[in-house]
Amino acid sequence: MEDYIIQAFIQILNTSYQAVIAVIAILLARALMQRMHVPPKYICILWYIPLLRLLPFHLHSIFSLFPGPVDPVPESLPLMEQPQINTNIAMVDRIVNQSLPAPTLGASINPLQILLPLFGSLWLLGMAACLLYGVVSVFRLRYRLRASVCQEGDLYLTDGLPTAFVLGIFRPRIYLPSGIAEKEKGYVACHERQHIRRKDHIFKAAFFLASSICWFHPLLWVAYALAGRDIEAACDEAVAEGLSEEQRKEYAAALLSLAVPGKRPFAAPLGFSEGSLKKRVWQIVHYERPERLAGILGIAVVLCLGVGLLTDPLGMGAGLPEDGIEKGTDMPVSEGGTAAERESMPGS
């Protein structure tokens, strides 16, 4: 059992490493794309990359953007005489390897064999907590939504909702706050339909799942928040595209109306900063047809990052070039290892 936890934990460590590299690259690309006015719908595609990295397939290509092995933490870590990871990023390797505890001379215990299952268990608990929160929230919400009235088709009205949203994966329903004005209804429903068309309701749930699995890494939650914002921007744009200038102002007014305090007195737990509403309104009111070039640039960046981040470098297997289980004369020495660690140890 303990071995499974260790193996799974090491796997997750590697996966979160991949996700971190991917997210950093995406953040850079995203900044560039925003500056070049690339439509947000292309930026949104980038956020699928960290999700796809979670899947257990490996493609190799020369275009990989990873500096080194995508599995820097070897499965044999707890068994190594000189535990180390290998990312091929000198600074990272140095810092991490310096802090990895080595089996003490003469003692029969490798601290990693205690630490890894411990951290592994903590990880499992954390993940379970996140998933539990998600599942419980959905059930509580569905319970509260049972007193809803079907307006037409997939549109439902509910009393006391703070905002409109989509609930359901296979048969998604749009829930609208019952006090919503007629005029607003059209715009809000349109926006939510865009979410459904773009499968955002599925994507967001999947990203939440991914973030829960790598819950200990703040970067993934940051990505989750930013992806959420990009998705809203993309939906706003899709709606604004078909509206006249006057209608866009009405749409923006609907956004404001649903966000005014006193009417909606609460805050969402995994919410976004208030500044984002202002930005959304700005983008809508100042919507302009995107230039062709911006779209082409967007697609180009998506392709490059897609290939670069979803493929692994050629020629590097998982972990170290040589596994360090057997004591060998050619044992790779990491930079900055202490002299004591370099002393060869009695063979297994």
Binding site: A253, P261, A268, L277
Partner: protein, 122 residues
């Protein structure tokens, strides 16, 4: 629109408008005179209160209801019902707004953007 409770008298006036809107201002004055015993100036004063709150409008001699009776009362009851919802909407839903509260300053800034008098991009 801010939440606004109607006193009984205002309520009766509002009912008159809602039942007959859109109607010429002159007709409203006559109705108020007959049903409520109001002078012309009184009707104008009360109407003005509703106009300020964006509920009714008086343009080109015609009074229209910007907010219907139904919408108005729905929004009133909202305030009570919402507290019982006791809100935590999970963040992984595809929603319209995040539901976060806005400060008065932010509301004004956003209104300015909508009405085209704001400055630079946020």
């Amino acid at each position: 629109m801010e939440p606004y409770s109607l006193g009984e008298v205002e309520g009766r006036f509002a009912e008159l408008v809602w039942s007959h809107a859109p109607l010429p201002t002159k007709m409203l004055i006559t109705l108020c005179q007959q049903r409520l015993g109001w002078k012309r100036t009184t009707t104008y004063t009360v109407l003005k209160k509703f106009i300020i709150r964006g509920i009714f409008e008086n343009k080109d001699g015609v009074v229209t209801a910007l907010v219907s009776r139904q919408e108005f009362y729905a929004r009133q009851s909202e305030r009570y019902v919402e507290r019982s919802f006791g809100g935590s909407l999970p963040g992984f839903l595809a929603a319209f707004t995040s539901g976060k509260k806005l400060s008065q300053k932010e509301i004004e800034e956003i209104e300015r953007i909508i009405h085209g008098s704001a400055g630079e991009k946020p």
